[in-house]
């Protein structure tokens, strides 16, 4: 829905072919988009019909990391960013429209809490955002760059692939931008169409030097994002935007990390291995159940979590591979 809100923003002034005008204009005014999300009552039946089907399955609550709070995915991202700004005085967060809280509300309140020099808008220019972030990181500070939609990451492709990924290598480890994390809302929601739905991780998956992580829910989002921020390599963190509100977990309020490059086996199985990440994990959960019920096939389900460098050991371990062959 926020995707639509943003989308409307762009079309509202020129074309006027919009169905939810107040949404666009409200967001323009910097008023929270909270009311406008699909979980709210404003979503009509016809809109819901187009949303891809899956059932979010929350993770069991863990007390390993101290007290928890009910958070949806965007709130868990905010919590991770909040923890980072609180503990790392060099950390800065920037991108298009992040100052007022971001079009997906991931940075709400952070500017007021930490100051306008730490949470700020940039001009509308993705290659600039990533290039700027690399420079911040090269100078030794922590850079958290937001690309407003994963669909718009392509202007920054050169800065990511030719620059960020190769900084350490090409300088013989004299310089690096390991303190850079690029966040981007990712995947479809159901009404984003061609340019608010893309999952561009494959374009980056063959680029040594960067890491890519995609969470399946709020608990993973916070843990993986904090790992990306702490990791001394440039990371891309794609956030499934359909889960921003639809997914709610009990999330630890204190900082914690979930290791990168480690897949998680969500379900043991003996016939077939299913590998998924992000939203698709939830689809696969259902698939595994259906396969069992309708075909009598036992599926192992793996959440890859990190796309690069991915956990070959878990995915290709002897028995998994054997299952896959079957």
């Amino acid at each position: 829905m926020a995707a639509a809100a943003r989308f409307l923003l762009r079309s509202a002034s020129s074309k006027g072919a919009v169905s939810n005008v107040s949404g666009g204009v409200h967001s323009c005014l910097g008023v929270s988009l909270v009311k406008l999300y699909p979980s709210g009552s404003s979503t009509s039946k016809s809109q819901r019909r187009n949303v891809s089907h899956f059932t979010f399955q929350p993770d069991p609550e863990t007390t390993k990391y101290g007290p928890t709070q009910k958070m949806n995915l965007f709130q868990s991202v905010t919590s991770a960013l909040d923890n980072t700004l609180a503990t790392d005085p060099t950390a800065v967060i920037f991108g298009e429209d992040v100052a007022f809280g971001g079009v997906f509300r991931c940075t709400v309140g952070l500017r007021d809490k930490y100051g306008k020099d730490r949470v700020f808008n940039t001009p509308l220019c993705e290659q600039g955002i990533v290039g700027f972030g690399i420079g911040v990181a090269v100078a030794g500070a922590t850079a958290i760059a937001e690309i407003q939609f994963a669909d718009y990451i392509y202007p920054a492709f050169d800065q990511i692939v030719n620059e960020a990924a190769k900084y350490r290598y090409r300088s013989g480890n004299l310089f690096n931008c390991g303190n850079l994390t690029i966040r981007a809302p990712w995947g479809c929601v159901g009404h984003g169409s061609l340019y608010h739905s893309q999952s561009p991780e494959a374009f980056f998956a063959h680029c040594p030097g960067i890491k890519i992580a995609i969470p399946r829910g709020p608990v993973q989002a916070k843990g993986l994002l904090l790992s990306c921020i702490a990791d001394q390599n440039p990371c891309i963190f794609f956030e499934p935007k359909i889960l921003y509100r639809a997914a709610v977990d009990q999330v630890p309020t204190e900082p914690y990390t979930i290791p990168l490059s480690q897949a998680e086996i969500l379900q043991e199985g003996s016939d077939v291995t299913l590998v998924a990440w992000g939203t698709q994990v939830h689809v696969m959960r259902e698939v595994a159940t259906m396969a069992q019920e309708k075909l009598g096939v036992s599926c192992e389900l793996i959440d890859l979590q990190t796309i690069l460098p991915w956990d070959t050991d878990t995915v290709c371990k002897f028995d998994s591979a054997q299952k896959a062959v079957k």
Binding site: R111, D117, C125, Q127, F132, V136, V138, N162, R170, G172
Partner: protein, 446 residues
């Protein structure tokens, strides 16, 4: 669409009401908007009674006749210089009054760079190194700007700024090691010649993709500003690279985010074979500064004092005022673009000769020194001999050195060695041992 207009009207009324009679029953969020939204300052208040444009994106006057703005309102941005072509100070108040020692150091660095260029260019011709790019004719831009900076200032270069690094004290041995990609190369032999870098000297390693360093310099300057230690960033680039989107990004980001940054454009007339009149239509690169809200100046790049003065002042103000400055140094690329280029295919020998013989930064400084009897034929002869010897010694040493150890192919991809890279490394060594007749491992560092 009607709803859009409706809300728009509401918004205007709201703001008007806030200004005039705040007690009206305007929705609260609209009232607040004028002053603060989540801590963000908003545009200036609207005032429809004044006959002035109220658009948030511009502030100027209305006019009532149709008129396009001409690109060159003035007859070109003037070129600041301190010395004329004979090395005489034009306006004494602009003389930087540098000590004899400093000026001699300028001269020696400019000529040492020149000597290193000659030897490395030749060595490429002889097949000893793979590639080279000379700095002929641009020595003044390098030394003049480098001298005006603090050693702690961070440099983001393009590739034709070896003199900046030389001025900071990068030893000849390390220049040579990089060009030879030998075991002493700080970059571990991973890049083509002239891609130098030095952490100790705050010179960020050069990368081949053009203009990528420009937005990066803005980010680094922003981080340095937050550190509050009076450091600045300087970012060098060619007039060709200035056409890249990244240049626009860097200019706009540094201006809006108020970064202590000096953009230093070496306008040397060519981007490989492309002359400036096919590179841009406006008045060079300096003319773009005002469009970004940036302080700008054009200097004679062959006048090392003009470059020095402009950079010094830009540096001082960039740090004091937290804003970027744009310096366009007009110069001429006397050498071919690189050893892969033959410039006779696109420019005349006469043209090159003019700059080499009539308007060269080194001869201009030489004139200046001679006029003060600081430097004569004898000093020149002795220095030529000495500098050539220094370069040759470093050159021969570099040639004899082993190549970097092959394991370095796999390190630094990530900060840590990942399992798949570890596997690839093992596979490489198995392969190399199996076919050792094809791999002269003795030439490589162990």
């Amino acid at each position: 669409m009607a709803a859009v207009r409706g809300v728009g009207r509401l918004l205007r009324i709201g703001c008007y009401a806030t200004r005039q009679t705040p007690v009206l029953t305007t929705p609260r969020f609209l009232q607040q908007r004028r002053f603060r939204v989540n801590g963000v300052q908003c545009q200036q208040p609207f005032d429809s009674t004044a006959e002035k444009p109220q658009f948030p994106g511009a502030s100027a006057e209305f006019i009532d006749h149709l008129e396009f703005i001409k690109p060159n309102v003035i007859s070109g941005i003037p070129v600041y210089r301190v010395m004329d072509r004979q090395g005489q100070i034009i306006n004494p108040s602009e003389d930087p009054q540098l000590s004899k020692e400093t000026v001699l150091n300028f001269y020696q660095k400019m000529t040492l760079l020149n000597t290193m260029d000659r030897i490395l260019y030749e060595s490429q011709r002889q097949g000893r190194i793979s590639f080279y790019m000379t700095n002929y004719g641009e020595e003044g831009t390098h030394i003049g700007s480098a001298a005006a900076l603090d050693p702690g200032d961070l440099v983001f270069g393009q590739y034709r700024e070896a003199g900046v690094l030389m001025y900071r004290g990068f030893p000849l041995d390390l220049f040579m090691a990089q060009c030879y990609a030998n075991a002493d190369d700080l970059g571990k032999g991973r890049q083509m010649p002239v891609h130098y870098g030095s952490k100790d000297l705050n010179f960020v390693t050069i990368s081949s993709p053009l203009a990528t360093q420009i937005p990066q310099a803005a980010g680094a300057a922003y981080a340095l500003k937050r550190e509050n230690e009076n450091r600045a960033v300087i970012c060098y680039f060619g007039e060709g690279a200035a056409s890249e989107g990244d240049a626009h990004a860097g200019f706009n980001f540094s201006a809006t985010l108020e970064c202590p940054l000096i953009f230093f454009c070496r306008n040397n007339g060519y981007a490989i074979s492309t002359p400036t009149n096919e590179q841009y239509r406006g008045d060079g690169i300096a003319a773009r500064g005002p469009g970004y809200g940036m302080m700008s100046i054009r200097v004679d790049g062959n006048d090392v004092f003009a470059v020095y003065n402009a950079t010094k002042e830009a540096r001082r103000r960039a740090v004091a005022e937290n804003q970027p400055f744009l310096i366009e140094a007009m110069t001429y690329r006397i050498g071919h673009h690189s050893t892969s280029d033959d410039s006779s295919a696109y420019r005349s020998v006469d043209e090159v000769n003019y700059w080499d013989k009539q308007d060269h930064p080194i001869s201009r400084l030489r004139h200046y020194m001679s006029a003060r009897s600081w430097w004569g034929e004898e000093e020149e002869r002795a220095w030529r001999k000495q500098s050539r010897k220094l370069v040759m010694e470093a050159f021969e040493k570099a040639e004899k050195r082993l190549k970097p150890k092959p394991d370095l192919l796999f390190s630094d991809v990530y900060q840590e060695m990942t399992p798949n890279l570890e596997k690839q490394k093992e596979a490489m060594w198995r392969h190399v041992h199996q076919y050792k007749e094809h791999y002269p491992v003795d030439l490589y560092d162990k």
